[in-house]
Structures are given as structure tokens and as C-alpha cells.
Symmetry: C2
Subunit: 352 residues, 2 copies
């Protein structure tokens, strides 16, 4: 069975998996223009910063492919800029769509200045640029997967089968495809090295039980769901070999901000002598930030903790603390930081 | 405001808090006879092994008080034995009702043999015996609370205010009243020593968010609910002073079986230099069991993890691991084991 695809793109035809319907139903919806993409992003049918940028960009590629050749490159540029400005408003806090828009506008500007390129050719160049984002992101994730799987296998003494634990969702449903930490697990599975994957629920938003568990079942990777308070018991009971998680941002010294609960798993892994890995694109390493102390912790709505749908699961009136992520100190990342450029010890990070 | 009472008993009148309606509604129901008690226990309106035994026993006291003086002590004995045998069938796996029934039948037998006591006097003795269970259990919990609060305050260097973290529900809703670990917290609060209580959700059954949070709000103890994956982040962020949990069973060497997630909190407390306490009646110490390795781990239904009410929260087809409790090694219980007889270092447990 092919890897689960949250974004399907083929010759100007774009479909996305509606994540709002997971895990109940696995339904794809067509994205025929930038309006469709804007709505899908706004309504959270697509999630994860890279995925948002790619769906937005591909929706513009869909429109440009259908477009009759523009009269002038300036007409084309105005059109492209207007559509991208609109797409950026779909989720203003996700920086990736903004960055993708800026890169595309810059390319379009360069094309306007380039006398040797006509309007039809400029359109083709922009389409190819937008379409390449999906393939590039997946290629990076595949490289992360291969580097990570090789390193884990080696550091675990080339055991026949490995038991790994992961947190949150870092797979096809959070990236353009394949995934980061879950990509490493996919690569381990392809190499027939997985005995069992333990995935945490990841309270309060349940990305583990809803999304990661869905991907693992879909691809028939042997997997067991545990609650977040069972991690240490599982580490001890099942003799887990490695913990692999994603990253929202890695500081220059290797301190890593990721989904709340990551720090705790790193402490528990250390005390159980279990390797701890972070997997992320090299672009997640922010060399402007010296240490994790400079990374602000976002607080999320308390209703995520007090309700499941319309069912109240916490006493009325209780105060809640709901940080979106935490920071894992570099020294706890004992396995390494896995990127498409290779696996780095946290004290060996250098801009490339 | 008085301490939350899950069991209200006064001169032959018994009411219990219907725990099925928590946290939505705080409703008391009358228990007028052993049939009422049997149904309330079977339907989980009352939970927790000590509470079950006490509600069952008190329901018999209610009946005996209403009963006209029996003709003979043998008639009385037959009646009492029949009612107790019936009560034991309400939740056969909870050993406390069985033990309470055996003790009462033994007393009744002794009364039959005692020539100086007539039938009416025998009835009074049995009623007093049954009624004493509630008061005795609460008195033990109050003593646990006082011993624990004093020890924590002392070991924390008599700080003005303390931040403590607790797991699961060990309060008025799990015991006859006051509670064990939550009883210690109540005593700290009475002494005006609580800055903030952090209570974990306690997945998958949410005893923390539903029951402990309810008790803390009810008694206006300053408290914050956290998800189970936020414990380490909270320990670091809020500089928590002590973790206090209950116990299902303590082995002779101090290893402690308690709600799943306890072991993890003990590891995290140790790595953050935070005192870790277990609070339980002395009768929870099982000197027949040398270490925690002999304690079997019960697995519970997967539906607890995959659904909240009728809402599916986990992908269909995912395998689950749902152990009901875990074992915390004695060496991680750095504060001590708090009982009604005092606070013990885990290597100082001796039958008393």
C-alpha cells in the first residue's frame, strides 16, 4: 500500500484529505482554485505549517494552468500577487504561506525584468516553481527518514527489530507527505526493522490517537496506542529502544521546542537509558535563537482540556494550564537531530 | 464550607453523592435499604473500595435500626448474614465489602454465643459496629492528612506556601471522606500552606479532571488542571515542592502499586529534585508481598482510551495498551509513605 497522502496533486488536479473528518472518515475534497484552498485552510481541513503553504501554492498552480496565456508579464504578476496576498490571509500566524508567497512574488518580479522570457513562458516557470514545492518537501522528508533510520539502527547495535515511541503527529498529515519523526519510523518499517511503535495520545488535542494512530493503522505498521501517563511504564515494560519526535523550532545550541509533553519524554528516556531523537527539516533550526530560553510558550484555549466535543470532561470552574509546547534541553537529545542533511549532535549545529 | 461528603450518614439516614452525574451535577440520593446500596454500588454511583464497603455496611445499619427487635439472636444472625451475602455480590472483585461482611458475621456469631446479651442488645451492638466504620475511616484519613502535612512542611524547610502536584482521585469521592493524598492536601490548605495544587487529568478515565478537580473547586483550594504530558513542564515552570499520590497496595519493601502514571511522576519528581510522597491507610501495606514485582498489573478495556462517551477519539483499528496501574520502586518515594500511624521511609516499614 502506498504511503498515506494528505495532498494529492497530478497535472493541475489537486485533492486534499479532509482532516476534520478523521479518524471517523477518510474523505478527499477537490481544490479547484485559491478560494477553495483558502476555505480549506481556514476551516482546518488541512493542518501543519508546511502543508498549508503547499496546498495554497498548488491551488495557485491549478488556476495558472487553466489560465489562457496572459497578455503581458505585468498582468500575470498582478494576478499572482493578488492571489497570494489573499492566500496569506487564510491563517495569518502560519509563517510558511507568507514565506512561500514572498518567494513566488520575487520570482515573478525577476521574470518581469527578464527580457528574454515572454508571458506564456513566465507562467510556465511559475507553475513549475509552485509544483516543485510538494516534491521538494517530500524529498526532504524521505532523506530525513533514511538518515534517521540508519542512525537509529546503528546506535541500537543493528538489532533485528526495534521498539520506538513517538509523540504527536509528524507524518503525512502534518507535512507535505511521508513525515519527519514518523518518516523515520516509515523508513525503519520499510527496512523491516520495526517490532512495535508506541504512540502517545498527545493530550489535549489527541494528535497521536487521532492522526498518528490513523497513519500507522493505514500503513499496517505494528503499533500500540498509549496514554501520555503510560510512557514510563511502557519504556520499562517493553524495553523501548528509541524515542523519536518532531520539532517546531530548534535553537542554535540544539534546545528544541516541540509539542507539549516532549520534554517529559526526553527526561524519561534519559532515566531509562533510551536514545532520544528529534527529526525536522534543516530549515527548522533557527540560528538567530541562541538557546531555548528565547522561545516563547504559546498558551492554548482551556476548552481543549475541559471538553471533548460537547462532552464536559473536567469539573466546571477548574483553572487550566494549557501550553502548546515545551522546550527540551539539548543535552537530553541523546540520539541526535535528524535533518535532510544528516544527523547532528546538538552541539554540532552549524549553518549550511 | 464543610469538606465535600460523598457519604452522609446521620441517625439511620443515609445519602450518597451520585458520582455518575459528576462533574455536571452534584446530586445526593437516599439509600434506604441494602437493595438501594446494592444497586448504587453495581451502577458505579459510589466508587472506591473503602467507600463501597462503608455504604454497604451503613445500608444494613439503616435496615437494622428500623427493624423491630428480633425474637432471637439466631433470627438476627440469619438476617444479617443473608443481607451481607447479598451485598458482597454487588461488586465481587472489591475485597473490602467481603472483608467488612466477614467481620460483621464474626461479631454476630460471637454475640449468639454470648449468654449475657439479648437479641435487642445484639442488634444495637451490630448497628454501632457498622456505623463506626465511617467514623473510623474518616479519623484515619484525618490522621494521614495531619501527619503528611506536617512532614511536607518540615521537609520543605517551613516555606510560607507550597506547590504540590497530585494524580488520580484520592479524596472524599474515593474514600469514606477527607481522603488520603488529597487529605494531606486538605490539611496543608487548612494550615494555609497551599500556594497551588496541580492536578493531572489522569487518562484514560479522567479521575483527576472529573473528580479531584471537582473536590478542589468545591473547597476553594487554589488549583490548576494539567494534562498528564504537562507534568514535567509544570514541575520546571512552577517549581513544584512535592508530589503526593495514593496507593492501591504497598509491598513490604515499600514498592507501591498505584494508578497508571504514578511511576512516571516519581521518575520526573526525582529528576527535578522534588519530594515524592505516597499516602495510604496502614492496612494498604501488604507485608505478605516482598516487592512490587509480585503485584499483577490489571489491563482495562480499550474503549476507555478510544472513546469519550459516544465520541471516538482514536483511529479505528489501533491496538491499545491500557494498564490500570503501575509500580513505583521504593527508592523513588523520597518523601515517605504517609499513614495514620505516621510517615515511614520506605525501607522502615514494619508490621504494627
Amino acid at each position: 500500500m502506498a504511503t498515506l497522502q494528505a495532498i494529492k496533486y497530478n497535472d493541475g488536479s489537486l485533492e486534499i484529505l479532509d482532516q476534520l473528518l478523521l479518524p471517523e472518515s477518510c474523505t478527499y475534497i477537490s481544490i479547484n482554485n485559491v478560494q477553495d484552498a483558502w476555505s480549506a485552510i481556514r476551516e482546518m481541513k488541512v493542518r501543519g505549517a508546511p502543508a498549508i503553504a503547499i496546498v495554497g501554492s498548488l491551488s495557485l498552480a491549478v488556476e495558472l494552468r487553466k489560465l489562457a496565456a496572459p497578455e503581458t508579464k505585468k498582468d500575470l504578476h498582478s494576478l499572482v500577487k493578488e492571489k497570494l496576498d489573499y492566500l496569506v490571509t487564510s491563517r495569518p500566524t502560519a509563517v510558511n504561506m507568507q514565506l512561500a508567497a514572498e518567494a513566488c512574488v520575487k520570482l515573478s518580479n525577476n521574470l518581469v525584468d527578464k527580457a528574454s522570457v515572454d508571458a506564456a513562458e513566465a507562467k510556465d516557470v511559475l507553475v513549475k516553481h509552485l509544483e516543485a514545492m510538494l516534491a521538494n518537501d517530500i524529498a526532504d522528508n524521505l532523506a530525513i527518514g533514511e538518515h534517521g533510520a540508519r542512525d537509529i539502527a546503528k546506535k541500537c547495535g543493528n538489532k533485528d527489530k526495534l521498539r520506538v515511541l513517538t509523540h504527536c503527529n509528524t507524518g503525512s498529515l502534518a507535512t507535505a507527505g511521508y513525515g519527519t519523526a514518523l518518516g523515520v519510523i516509515r523508513s525503519l518499517h520499510k527496512a523491516n526493522l520495526v517490532d512495535q511503535v508506541y504512540c502517545t495520545e498527545t493530550r489535549p488535542y489527541n494528535q497521536g490517537s487521532r492522526l498518528t494512530a490513523f497513519e500507522l493503522v493505514y500503513e499496517k505498521i505494528p503499533a500500540t496506542l498509549i496514554c501520555d501517563d503510560m510512557a514510563a511504564a511502557a519504556m520499562k515494560e517493553f524495553k523501548i529502544d528509541a524515542v523519536i519526535v518532531g520539532a517546531d523550532r530548534v535553537a542554535a545550541n540544539g534546545d528544541t521546542a516541540n509539542k507539549i509533553g516532549t520534554y517529559q519524554l526526553a527526561v524519561l528516556a534519559k532515566s531509562h537509558n533510551i536514545l532520544f531523537y528529534v527529526a525536522a527539516p534543516f530549515s527548522s533550526i533557527d540560528f538567530q535563537i541562541p538557546t531555548g530560553q528565547s522561545i516563547p510558550i504559546e498558551e492554548r484555549p482551556h476548552s481543549e482540556m475541559t471538553h471533548t466535543g460537547s462532552i464536559r470532561t473536567a469539573a466546571a470552574g477548574i483553572h487550566c494550564w494549557n501550553p502548546g509546547f515545551d522546550v527540551t534541553p539539548a543535552e537530553l537529545i541523546t540520539g541526535g537531530i535528524v535533518t535532510e542533511k544528516g544527523v547532528f549532535k546538538s552541539d554540532q549545529l552549524v549553518p549550511v
